[in-house]
């Protein structure tokens, strides 16, 4: 399940400093090695700045609410 894959990956990066460092230096390499589907890889690549560099999440789209 793709949701589960994302949850597990975020948890691993949050708790494994080595993996976090690797993601900072070579995000494409890490994503490729994980063997994600193109859809999950697309999502994970959007998460990298937040996971590895503590970038705040984007402001709410605030569209339909």
């Amino acid at each position: 399940m793709e949701e589960q894959l994302i949850q597990e990956f975020v948890h691993r990066v949050s708790t494994d400093e080595k993996l976090c460092e690797e993601l900072k230096n070579d995000p494409d390499g890490v994503i490729m090695r994980e063997g994600f589907s193109p859809r999950v890889a697309q999502v994970v690549s959007r998460l990298v700045p937040h996971l590895a560099f503590d970038k705040p999440i984007d402001p709410s789209l605030n569209f339909w609410h």
Binding site: E2, Q7, V10, V40, V43, S60, F63, W64, H65
Partner: protein
């Protein structure tokens, strides 16, 4: 959802005008006392009578007026470009009235201190919601006056009723689960609730547009699925941002009074015990690392002030992880919506206006 940041002209002005004219046709029969409150409801943010600065149109205020009726109208015109605007706008306004009613009830049920509740009071807001539900049905029944076949009208009414049941059930579940411990809740359940709330509303908007334009069952199903995925993504985005700004903008260690004050300003789901995805994922992590007894999120916030830096850090890490994971799942649903969109566009590319509206 729209990425265009340079627009200075409202591209939806003509469609909004059609919708407003048709809306006034429906409203003119109302008693003056009722009329004022119903108009006030349609003036809320995102609704069709919401007033924006006419001189400066940013993507934010372009989207601020009538998105819930613009979507079915633009979908209908996309599927059947020659569709009678009176017909399509009546169906679109049925959706707008329905969503406005649901939003009012949501404000009351969640005890949100919104401007309209403050202005009209609970009793009038509830009654206005009841009138809006009736208006939604009236807008569809009025189609017989312009020669729409009864079978089509019945089908549209059926879609509205089915959606009403789904949304009301979703809202009911959302209230019932407030008292369940957060750590017993699963991410799947959160997404199911999101699907029955924003997911069901956007599903309705897309489906009604396609149905009134005479789309095939297969095409209607695709539009419905596209809307649902987009709605789930929007709900998760909203939940993530609510929690993010509660934790990071308002400060971490809040007193209970501060939590209540903050919630008054920003509808904090955290305070009411709402089981949104980022909260549930954070609770799951806290339950694993700190023990289930501390997994009540409101308690967690209040306890944080008395915890050591190390313990506090553990809570912060759990919340951060919950927010990023939930936001990742939000992006996943946007990707899925984007794929459905590509399937729809394989048959016929969306107009730039429809693209701008859905933002995918």
């Amino acid at each position: 959802m729209c990425e265009d940041r340079g627009s200075s002209v409202n591209p939806f002005a003509a469609h909004q005008q059609i919708l407003r004219e048709r809306l006034h046709f429906f409203l003119c029969t109302l008693h003056p006392a009722v009329y004022a409150d119903v108009v006030r409801a349609f003036e809320d943010e995102l609704k069709i009578l919401h007033q924006v600065n006419q001189d400066i149109y940013t993507p934010q205020n372009i989207r601020s007026s009538g998105v819930w009726s613009l979507l079915p109208l633009l979908v209908a015109q996309h599927v059947a470009p020659e569709i009678d605007p009176t017909y399509a706008s009546s169906v679109a306004l049925a959706v707008e009235s329905f969503v406005t009613a649901i939003d009012l009830l949501d404000d009351i049920e969640d005890e949100d201190h919104t401007e309209i509740v403050h202005e009209l009071g609970t009793a009038r807001v509830i009654n206005t919601a009841a009138i809006l539900f009736t208006l939604a049905q009236q807008a569809l029944l009025s189609l017989s006056d312009i020669g729409i076949p009864p079978t089509t009208i019945l089908r549209l009414l059926q879609t509205l009723q089915e959606s009403s049941l789904v949304v009301s059930t979703g809202q009911h579940l959302d209230i019932v689960v407030e008292n369940r411990p957060t750590h017993e809740f699963t991410g799947e359940e959160c997404i199911e609730i999101a699907a029955t709330k924003s997911g069901a509303l956007l599903r309705l908007a897309c489906l009604m547009g396609a149905q009134c334009a005479g789309a095939s069952d297969e095409l209607c199903a695709k539009y419905a699925e596209f809307g649902e995925l987009l709605g789930i993504a929007a709900q998760l985005d909203n939940d993530c941002n609510d929690l993010y700004y509660l934790l990071y903008s308002q400060g971490w260690a809040l007193s209970s009074e501060e939590i209540v004050r903050t919630s008054n300003m920003m509808k904090s789901d955290l305070v009411r015990g709402k089981k949104t995805l980022p909260i549930v994922l954070a609770a799951e992590e806290i339950a694993k690392t700190q023990g289930a007894s501390t997994a009540n999120m409101q308690d967690a916030l209040q306890q944080a002030a008395t915890l050591s830096d190390t313990e506090n850090e553990a809570y912060m890490r759990a919340f951060r992880e919950g927010i990023i994971t939930a936001w990742g799942i939000c992006l996943l649903y946007r990707e899925r919506a984007s794929e459905r969109l590509q399937e729809l566009e394989a048959q016929k590319p969306f107009t730039p206006l429809l693209h701008l509206l859905v933002g995918v």
